[in-house]
Symmetry: C2
Subunit: 168 residues, 2 copies
């Protein structure tokens, strides 16, 4: 699948806004992810205002590019009913990866910023959006049209020595 | 992207073997996943022998379909050099999701079985393959041609109430 092989972490964006239809497609892609027992614990917080993007870019020294992104999608896990969080990272990561791949497919550039399990970053987002108890920040995905249109391109990461047959 | 929207958890497989070229493609898709600091902590253990598939199917009551799969790919994290495991579930989940999507693209059916963080399942795999200390089982993906060719199909999981703009 082409998007899997050409997706890169894209951290520089043009000023061109991302169409509403594309944002909708990204969210739909996230929600199609597999989740343990099909529980779909995710919630999506879409940020497009310049002010909030700048606030969000101060989450960590690795989040600076958020300030110049067209939008950011914050993935949250909703565990307000006391559900098991055993597969929280798995479920949320599958949704995050789907969004990155769909972005690539739509000629956008995106990068996944890790939030969970770094408590300082989680607290930053909880405080910024006054999240209720039980709604847990997982990741931030910064998205925009790539400044350099060649940003998404195949770089071979295959390593034969990482493949084992029948025994380790 | 079609595979994102048509992928389902497929648990019944035909006897048709999966071509070597497709297995190679699945592994390559896994290795193209994003990982924290691009560390690519993954290793892939490919199981095709009937005997080992049956052994693996006894990992838990949810793993029975592995016995009738054409193959299983066991995803392992390699932390033998004492690397940080902070983003272990994220990195391995992105690789797992890539494999599921590539399987869909190749007209295969696949299902993701959670292993980490369930210590009983992790021990089962560690013991079965005599894994060295620091090599950590993460997931098992059972794969085959679907018994029912219509298994992968679009089921709409979109939920408007899970989308929030600017504030939660």
């Amino acid at each position: 699948m082409e998007a899997i092989f050409t997706r890169r972490s894209v951290r520089s964006y043009s000023d061109e806004p991302v169409e509403k239809e594309k944002i909708d497609k990204l969210l739909r892609a996230g929600m199609q992810a597999p989740s343990a027992m099909n529980k779909q614990p995710w919630e999506f917080l879409v940020i497009q205002s310049k002010k909030t993007l700048i606030d969000l870019s101060k989450m960590s020294m690795f989040a600076k590019m958020v300030a110049s992104a067209s939008l950011a999608i914050i993935l949250l896990g909703d565990y307000r009913e006391g559900q098991s969080q055993k597969f929280f990272p798995q479920d949320m990561s599958a949704a995050s990866e789907n969004i990155l791949l769909e972005a690539t497919e739509l000629n956008l550039g995106a990068v996944w910023l890790g939030v969970h399990p770094i408590s300082q970053r989680q607290k930053y987002i909880k405080d910024l959006f006054k999240l209720p108890e039980g709604v847990i920040p997982f990741s931030v995905i910064a998205i925009g049209y790539p400044k350099n249109k060649e940003s998404n391109k195949f770089v071979d990461r295959y390593r034969q020595d990482k493949v084992h047959f029948e025994r380790y």
